[in-house]
């Protein structure tokens, strides 16, 4: 159907998409996980209520989340250039992807941790558990299923964002779809990239759900 160059390009594009998505998810969690933990524990029903810290972080998260990704992509270009050395390509796309993902991940982590039964937290405190123990052994451990579902959602969302990076020459499947499908009217290539994207999302989603289900001990 396609010549060798096109096939190679599609394989490389898939690799670049996976690279951007997975690395950005990782960095997103490095920032988003602590952020979510702080949001969950400093809220008024948390174990270390602190109105000031909560309100500030809450505001920053809302602010970042309300900027459309396409705009953010362009907005952080100077920063991207500073960190990566260039403002285009797959590596450069990781910077805006991480910035967009971290607050979103923080929110999901916050909501997962808030699902943990208050009674169990109280029981741990009655045994003499300190804040760190409650976070590590109660909140994160009890919410692990929900947290993993969150990871799956995050990967799917970031994958979608990464396709948008094609607009600014970000590389990956989205880039190919725009260059060939949109600018050159090569519908065939565009459809193939979309099919690959769909398959990627399905596989990642399936894996995530299977893992979270396997790790859940709440069913009889």
């Amino acid at each position: 159907m396609f010549d060798e160059t096109t096939v190679n390009m599609l394989i490389e594009g898939t690799g670049a998409t996976l690279y951007m998505t997975l690395v950005s998810t990782l960095f997103g969690y490095i920032v988003g996980l602590p952020l979510g933990i702080i949001l969950a524990i400093t809220d008024k029903t948390g174990i270390k209520p602190n109105v000031v810290i909560y309100k500030i972080l809450d505001f920053i998260v809302n602010l970042t989340r309300s900027i459309p990704f396409l705009i953010l992509l362009i907005l952080v270009m100077p920063l991207t250039k500073l960190i990566v050395g260039q403002s285009y390509g797959s590596a450069a796309t990781i910077v805006p992807l991480t910035i967009a993902a971290a607050p979103f991940i923080g929110r999901m982590v916050e909501s997962s941790l808030k699902e943990v039964d208050k009674g169990v937290i109280e029981a741990a405190q009655s045994m003499g558990a300190g804040t760190f123990t409650v976070i590590w052994k109660v909140l994160l451990a009890e919410a692990r299923t929900s947290l993993l579902v969150g990871v799956t959602i995050a990967i799917g969302t970031i994958l979608g964002y990464s396709a948008m990076a094609g607009v600014v020459g970000g590389g990956g499947l989205g880039d190919i779809a725009i260059r060939y499908g949109y600018y050159r009217y090569e519908t065939g290539i565009m459809i193939v990239t979309i099919v690959i994207l769909v398959i990627l999302v399905q596989i990642l989603q399936g894996l995530g759900m299977m893992l979270s289900k396997k790790l859940d001990r709440r069913q009889a």
């Binding site: 109280e122 741990a124 009655s126 003499g128 001990r217 009889a220």
Partner: protein
């Protein structure tokens, strides 16, 4: 007998949407070592808040809480955590870690106390035997019945050899027969290890079954206190009379509805 818990003039006020709620008003009482002390009252009487003042899960706005001679109100965060290892607590809804199996649930307080894994497991197996659940070591809480969950919670609370055991409506989610078996277990624990037990309940039957002394709570105030025998023979207050009548006239579950 020497006192193990001494509460002096504690007050606890919460700020709610419609102003201040005084959950505990100027309460003082003493519990002696080895006793099974009941605190009874209708829902909203302040029982749960009061029992949480005994391990400072709720910090009273005023007053002193002495446990084994130490005023908990004056302890640092770290000292308080250490002290809490001597004051176990079990709950109406058991509050087990759902993602850990029975054995690891019992190991949890030992982890907090910094005891090694091997030793903790050995102790956990012994405790499972004490509560009669040895065959459930690898089961998860979701696979257990209510009574079995409470037994695991009791094994867990005994892990650190507490001096005091606080029971917050520990049998209220259980059927009458299971209630009886859990109360028998608590009585055994009291005899065998000499642990002082504080029982919070709205059921007179529970008080009658295991307590030696009782305090009646009404709208945040302690209105009557004495031996269980005295209370049944000659209740001094309206609240106490009402609670006794409720317990007599109705079955355990119906009382719950009535309240």
């Amino acid at each position: 007998m020497e006192p193990i818990i001494r509460v002096e003039n504690i007050n606890k006020t919460f700020s709610a949407a419609n102003g201040q709620v005084e959950a505990v008003k100027d309460i003082s009482f003493t519990i002696e070592k080895g006793d099974i002390f009941g605190i009874i009252g209708l829902s909203g009487a302040g029982k749960s808040t009061l029992v949480r003042c005994l391990n400072l899960l709720e910090r009273p706005n005023e007053g002193r809480v002495y446990v084994d001679g130490k005023n908990l109100m004056e302890l640092s965060e770290k000292e308080l955590r250490k002290e809490r290892q001597d004051i176990g607590m079990i709950f109406q809804h058991f509050n087990l870690l759902m993602q850990r199996n029975v054995l690891d649930n019992i190991c949890f307080p030992l982890e907090i106390a910094g005891i090694g894994r091997k030793e903790a497991r050995k102790r956990a197996y012994e405790l499972l035997e004490t509560v009669g659940l040895s065959e459930k070591a690898k089961a998860y809480p979701a696979q257990l019945s209510g009574g079995q969950k409470q037994r695991v919670a009791i094994a867990r609370v005994l892990a650190n050899n507490p001096k005091i055991l606080l029971c917050d409506e520990a049998t209220s989610a259980l059927d009458p027969q299971t209630t009886k078996s859990i109360l028998t277990l608590l009585k055994d624990i009291n005899h065998k290890y000499g642990i002082t037990i504080v029982v919070i309940t709205h059921e007179m039957a529970v008080i009658q079954e295991i307590c030696s002394k009782v305090a009646v709570l009404d709208q945040g105030r302690l209105v009557e206190e004495g031996t269980v025998e005295e209370l049944f023979r000659a209740p001094k207050t309206e609240e106490a009379k009402k609670l006794i009548l409720n317990g007599k006239g109705l079955g355990v579950e119906e009382v719950d509805d009535y309240v």
